[in-house]
């Protein structure tokens, strides 16, 4: 009797995860499988015939200049991640010291992260305005006569996006580092100071290695998170000027919902998946190699 009850209780596990599992099935697993199938078709929205085209899409991808260009743009975009991690670390280290207004400062640095989205992108669009915008106004007033065109030229636009992205991510990295620094024992740091180690050395030789698991985690999650984003770019440049800010995730969106070339869009999206897979694999292997616990 009691045994029976126990067994039933254990089966309840499926009931508890049931609703969530159903959603994962409907909105993740089945669409993913469907998308995998679409990769081998010439499916176009509104067109009645769908043919199986084998590896045509993959071939096309490998010979698509715009794909390589967006891959390159993606890499430039991802440069923002290590920069924001490094800056987040520096801010966290200083905020971890005995200073005033800690909570206020933490909140101010973190604010961009919570107000993400297109709204902020549009503010930056005006700030970066090349002729009259306040950023170039400031640069001119300190004697730079030819300030960059920011979002308006093909050579600078990706870096302008990088600046927005560093600004956006910095606060999150700082918050996670602050938590990691709490775990560094104060005795260890006191001891280091008594030993006459200078502050910068304590930072380099003790704190930096101790938080290396956090650094690694932030790099990997930051890269994966960033590679999936296209909202702010779609909102302010739509990939322009001249495809100079078309990153892979945006390229998928454009093919699917601007050209309705959905078979091909699915193919590009799986290329994106492969990159995420590589980053994750590097994480698995690298965690053991480079992280000092």
């Amino acid at each position: 009797m009691r045994n029976n009850w126990m067994r039933r209780q254990r089966l309840l596990g499926y009931v508890f995860i049931g609703p969530s599992m159903l959603g994962i099935l409907l909105f993740f697993l089945i669409p993913a499988a469907y998308s995998f199938y679409l990769m081998f078709t010439n499916y176009k929205f509104m067109s009645p015939n769908v043919d199986f085209v084998g590896f045509d899409n993959i071939n096309r991808l490998l010979h698509d200049d715009l794909f390589y260009k967006s891959l390159k743009n993606t890499i430039v975009f991802l440069l923002a991640v290590p920069v924001s991690v490094a800056l987040g670390f520096l801010v966290a280290v200083v905020l971890n010291e005995k200073i005033y207004l800690k909570k206020l400062l933490r909140g101010l640095y973190f604010m961009p992260y919570i107000t993400s989205g297109v709204a902020v992108a549009f503010v930056w669009m005006l700030l970066f305005q090349p002729k009259q915008g306040p950023i170039n106004g400031l640069l001119r007033s300190i004697g730079i006569d030819n300030p960059p065109g920011w979002l308006s030229t093909t050579t600078s636009s990706m870096y302008a996006i990088d600046i927005i992205w560093v600004w956006f991510m910095l606060g999150y990295n700082m918050i996670i580092y602050l938590a990691a620094l709490q775990e560094v024992s104060p005795e260890l740091m006191e001891a280091a100071k008594i030993d006459g180690a200078r502050r910068s050395q304590v930072l380099r030789k003790i704190i930096w290695p101790l938080v290396s698991p956090t650094t690694f985690l932030l790099l990997v999650t930051g890269l994966i998170m960033s590679i999936k984003t296209f909202g702010i770019i779609q909102a302010i440049t739509q990939g322009g000027p001249g495809n100079s800010t078309t990153i892979l995730s945006l390229y998928v969106y454009q093919n699917a919902f601007r050209y309705y070339d959905m078979g091909y869009a699915s193919t590009i999206s799986w290329a994106l998946f492969v990159i995420i897979l590589i980053i994750t694999a590097v994480q698995w292997i690298g965690q053991k190699k480079w992280v000092h616990y």
Binding site: L12, I24, L95, S141, I176, A179, Q234, V252, S269
Partner: protein, 281 residues
């Protein structure tokens, strides 16, 4: 110890560092300040340099323009609120249920299923857009709010975060209730959920902010202007008012200010939640 610390880091030094950090922090929030002041300025003042941080003739006209007329932000707000509130409530409960199953009941295949969950995190949303578009079209929920609400119920991050919290609750607590004959449902509702209130609040706030800010899904799944959420409405406003910079910034304020308020109120929960799921994950 305390004395020594003070000598290492004396008051003037503390002050100087605080001021430097405050200066950088202000640079971080300048875009918001600029947005707010610009929304109150007259068109000729927008790009005046040096920047006037206090408009000479403050005007609410641009905000009025954003909030009235045929395309008032009121509609977008109601749409966003509806989607984010229903989505958040659903996501919080469904995640809590799943997290309980994954952390406190031992059933066959549990770990394998959890691995499936985690592996789904690697699938970029771009992979899912096209098939979801086709499926939603077929099911008749494309271009309705359900296309955002239903998928919004399911967050892998949420399950993961709450599970982390449930794992930290000692097993003895539920074990004794279990021996007394209480089943898992009763333990979950009467014992574990009340203990998990802070974790649930954290997830709710983070999830709400994500759903409120979500632009990409709305862009893909909504076409009808009356159904637009705040981010889409904002984009629409800006496309139609490309030269009205003051209006643009008034519209941007309408999108950003609620999130700043949510952040000020829920800062503790947000920071705690993000930290826990990252560091202990």
């Amino acid at each position: 110890m305390e004395l020594k610390r003070r000598m290492n880091w004396d008051v003037p030094k503390r002050l100087v560092i605080t001021v430097i950090m405050l200066a950088f922090a202000i640079i971080m929030v300048i875009p918001f300040i600029w947005m707010l002041t610009t929304s109150l300025k007259t068109p000729t003042e927008v790009f005046e340099y040096p920047i006037k941080w206090l408009p000479a003739h403050p005007t609410w006209d641009h905000h009025v323009k954003v909030w009235t007329g045929a395309k008032s932000f009121g509609t977008y707000y109601l749409n966003s609120l509806k989607i984010a509130v229903i989505g958040t409530v659903g996501a919080t409960f469904i995640s809590a249920f799943a997290a309980y199953g994954f952390s406190r009941i031992e059933f066959k295949g549990r770990n394998a299923l959890f691995m499936v969950y985690l592996s789904m995190m690697m699938i970029p949303p771009q992979v899912l857009f096209v098939p979801k578009f086709i499926m939603f079209e077929w099911a008749g929920i494309y271009n309705t709010h359900w296309a955002l609400i239903l998928p919004g119920f399911f967050t892998i991050f949420g399950v993961f975060m709450i599970r982390q919290f449930f794992l930290s609750i000692p097993h003895e607590i539920s074990e004794s209730a279990f021996i007394d004959g209480a089943g898992h449902f009763r333990i979950f509702l009467r014992l574990i959920l009340p203990l998990a209130k802070p974790a649930l609040a954290t997830l709710a706030i983070i999830d709400f902010s994500w759903q409120w800010n979500d632009y990409e899904n709305a862009l893909v799944f909504l076409i009808d202007e009356r159904l637009y959420t705040v981010p889409l409405g904002l984009q629409n406003f800006i496309l139609e008012n490309m030269i009205d910079y003051n209006g643009m910034m008034a519209a941007a304020s309408a999108g950003i200010v609620p999130m700043i308020l949510v952040f000020i109120i829920g800062q503790r929960f947000i920071i705690q939640g993000l930290t826990n799921s990252a560091v202990k994950g």
